[in-house]
Symmetry: C2
Subunit: 410 residues, 2 copies
């Protein structure tokens, strides 16, 4: 008998039929003799509906009005509260004893940063007792209780974090993240049709792939799992195929040089020209971007005419306007230079812990791209990742070529 934490996302509990399906899966796990604690998200679409209503009201008199963070948490926590109760009722109908638990009742203690709370501690409340009494416990993901006794939520992807944290808190044997994809793939199958599901992957690789836009899971949940050594499996709630196990790096993983290819088509390039050539100019630009909450990804700097520097960097498309505005403001304070949106780009990355011990990976990547006449505009690397910025029009071709070139379908 194992203690298993299962997490079902919004698409898996979207309506009554899907909730029945989830209840059947839980029953199966119970029938196999396991103890099961379940974390569920809000029904797909519900959170967005609630956000829309809140925004409409907040903008009654000011088109830029934003709803209060505390009230948003009060509001959004309803979504999961609904699904835990419905899931428990669905289990009862199958003859499985079950009880729902709010984040507060499950002892998810967080800080007071509403809408983006961080977990301080998971006490688990009476969940161990309920499990011991033979009940399935259905826990509301995404939500917790602050020291002030207020409902908090953990931001997008918070339910994954809840599941991993609950697995850590309960010292579960296994944590299963059920979602609408079958696992982690060597590339996005919609772009690279011969992409292959990866059996096992390290936290580091998962993090690099996730942050590159293969949005299987939010980075925070993976980081938490890594920190607390929670082994978890990403798998589909729509079939019974095994998914991808995510765990600490194992020696065997290094045999595989490249685990996957990530493609991010949501990047834009901004050029700063004629930046005054004084110490700290670039630092001021990036500080201004940071203050404006813009995450800068790749950066290239080179000296232009007359000693003035040119800077080129990429940001998420959504941040372009904010980024240009922030940079122009700081440039005018420094007395020189101009910031311009150059265009959209794609970023192709290869990820693999094996890169640490294998030389020549970058060279192989570059030659594959050259063979396919893909021009590299920028390059960035981490210990286990190499990324290149390329023309958006070349994105799919490049991803397929790199996937083939590194033989990831095998």
């Amino acid at each position: 008998m194992a203690l298993i934490v299962q997490k079902y996302g919004g698409t898996s509990v979207k309506d009554v039929d899907r909730i029945r399906n989830v209840a059947q899966r839980i029953k199966q796990t119970v029938d196999e003799g396991h103890q099961v604690a379940v974390v569920v998200s809000a029904r797909g679409g519900v959170t967005n509906e609630l956000v829309t209503r809140a925004r409409e009201l907040a903008q009654t008199s000011d088109p830029k009005g934003q709803p209060d963070d505390r009230e948003m948490d009060m509001l959004l926590a309803c979504g999961e509260q609904e699904t835990i109760a419905l899931t428990a009722i669905a289990l009862h109908a199958l003859g499985i004893p079950a009880i729902s638990r709010l984040g507060s009742q499950a002892g998810f203690k967080t800080d007071t940063a509403h809408t983006r709370a961080r977990i301080r501690e998971i006490t688990g409340g009476d969940i161990p007792d309920q499990l011991a009494a033979g009940k399935v416990v259905i826990v509301a993901g995404f939500q917790g209780l602050s020291d002030d006794g207020e409902i908090t939520t953990m931001g997008r992807g918070g339910s994954d974090l809840s599941a991993v944290a609950l697995a850590a808190g309960l010292k579960a044997d296994l944590c299963q993240i059920y979602t609408d994809v079958e696992g982690v793939y060597t590339a996005d199958p919609r772009v690279v049709p011969n992409a292959r599901k990866i059996e096992e992957i390290s936290y580091e690789e998962m993090l690099e792939l996730a942050s590159m836009g293969s949005k299987v899971m939010q980075a925070r949940a993976v980081e938490f799992a890594q920190k607390h050594d929670v082994v978890f499996e990403v798998r589909s709630s729509f079939n019974h195929n095994p998914g991808t196990i995510v765990k600490s790096e194992a020696p065997s993983m290094e045999d595989v040089v490249v685990s996957g290819v990530a493609l991010d088509k949501n990047q834009a390039k901004i050029a700063v020209s004629d930046l005054p050539d004084k110490p700290g100019s670039a630092a001021k630009v990036f500080k201004a971007l940071g203050d404006a909450n813009v995450i800068v990804d790749m950066i290239v700097q080179n000296i232009g005419r007359g000693g003035a520097a040119n800077l080129t960097f990429t940001v998420s498309k959504d941040d372009v306007h904010r980024a240009v505005e922030a940079v122009e403001k700081v440039l005018s304070e420094m007395g020189g230079g101009a910031a311009n949106y150059v265009g959209d780009i794609a970023k192709v990355s290869i990820v693999g812990v094996g890169m640490r011990s294998h030389a020549g990976v970058a060279a192989t990547l570059f030659s594959i791209l050259a063979d396919h006449e893909v021009n590299i505009q920028m390059i960035s690397t981490s210990e286990i990742r190499i990324s290149v910025a390329i023309d958006l029009a070349d994105a799919d071709k490049a991803a397929q070529a790199v996937h083939d070139g590194f033989e990831l379908d095998q």
Copy 2:
């Protein structure tokens, strides 16, 4: 400066526009210099949607399956949680400081009877502090927290009860129940077009009128108000007309003999024939009905052929099937008699605390009905009410005639 508790029902907070309207009303009260605590219901329709989903799931394998009461409370409490947050956000947009509070946070302590919890105590939580700090406090109606730390709900009309109880707990100066009618009328204006809004009414009269089918408010809320001497006003959230003040009986109220005419078209008549003429036979029948949760309204007993008794009684139409079943079962145990559904009837009642000190009211009622050729089938009375069961086809005509006969339009 007064402390006012306002309650807005589901139709008043049905959508974003209505919530804006409610926020405007609250702002007005604040601008007049008052402290305001607000109780809101779930958005109109939301509770029914949630109940539908829960029932569908509960009936997955058994068409008679009912969802667990505790899980229903977890589920239904979401409805009010949504509206408190949205109402607070709407107030912020108007520049009014406001904070939402769950039933649990507002210190609504209840027993553990899920879906029909009774209030034990209202501590008010930090509401007095929030009010003193200049904030409007928006409290989730209908819900509380049991001694076990579980969310409970108080059943249909629970938000009215929450409002009255909160007014008692905070020692508010006034409690306003905003609803979709303008107050308590001398009769249902849809049936009696010249019905008049009553300015002031006693708790007892309100209770008799409410229980007679003029569904302005649930009896429990009125009873609570009476017990704790909470003066409240029933008024419309769609205009600014004054409503009806409900309070303890005042001497002046006795000048008015009849305050209103109530009409209940939802009654059915059941006849029990040939009941064995033994002591306790009738008692056994009514005990069986009580055990089956059937509320019996009017009763007539007369001795039939051969000493066997005939019983006739009225129940709510919804309970006919259950009532006949329960009586047939006990009759077969007693070895005799038959129970039959006779037909639907209407009940017309006149209500007024003045009846206590005025003779001849019943005679006047009977002669009005006789003048209009309405046949009286059954009669029941209380200290401040006289009710007659009549043919359903005569219902509207009778209500109008009684209203005119007692000159209630003046």
